[in-house]
Amino acid sequence: MKILLNGQVHTLAQDPTPLLALLASQGWSTEGIAVVLNRQLIRQSEQAQCLVHADDQIEVLTAVVGG
């Protein structure tokens, strides 16, 4: 299935795919990140239960230097 991850098309083998598996596939841990799925914030306490489906749009965000 195809998803949009941070604005880029990604192909995943499994539909649905656990969010944590998707993050792990990118080498990302859950510490220090926030996930927005289809323009809805996924709270950190809900990430373990979250599943990603075909055509989902996922934004994985973190803090950066800024003014």
């Binding site: 990118q26 803090a63 230097v65 003014g67």
Partner: protein, 258 residues
Amino acid sequence: MMDVLALCRQSPIWLGTAHYPSPEILQQAVAGSGCSLLTVGLRRMTAQQTDAAWFSRWLANSGCHILPNTAGCHSVDEAVLLAQVGRELFKTPLIKLEIIGDDYSLAPHMGRLVTATAALVADGFQVLPYCTEDLVMCQELIDAGASALMPWGAPIGTGQGLRNPLALAELRQRFATLPMLVDAGLGKPSQAAQAMEMGFDAVLLNTAVAKASDPVAMAQAFAWAARAGRQAYLAGMMQPSECARASTSLLDRPFWQQ
């Protein structure tokens, strides 16, 4: 609820975290200036990024309150969602609300700021909008529930100082009890002192400190200037006069023949 005014009293300078030569220099600038609050941005993870947590951990150990921003947002929906992300990451109700209305000057979109402020306040946020000095729109931001006003001194990163000092002073006078900071555009410590002399409660700085030849010394210089300005404001400054007034008495002058 966070007491924004108390944060200003802890330190009259708040610092952005961008453009520093290294995290160590940022840390020294924070320590040397006594800064109590740091602003941060929120961006996508990149494919090369394997440890998002180091910056969050660094911030947690900085001893400062963290103020996430919504920099780069152009719409109300983007800003509201990014504010929620900031709250999730930092467990703070504070958000520096930025909605850009003009890409060239990075001027804030005041109408959208009002709408977003109302939405965020309804969701439990304490909103600190980065705004212009427009008196009527600032009143609308206050009516929408803004916890503070953060009018620009000049466009972000320009170092031009207070481009519209009369309007800023009027804003300060009209909303005398609301926490108010000058955010953006300051380039020199004297400009921070000028803002504080007007009665602003703090200044938010980034480029002027981070891009200095010696950011640590510049952070201290800004802190001293801001404190001096605050002290002068509290001390009650003399009013300018059209006429000269001799400091030394004109009575009993020597060599004067009646």
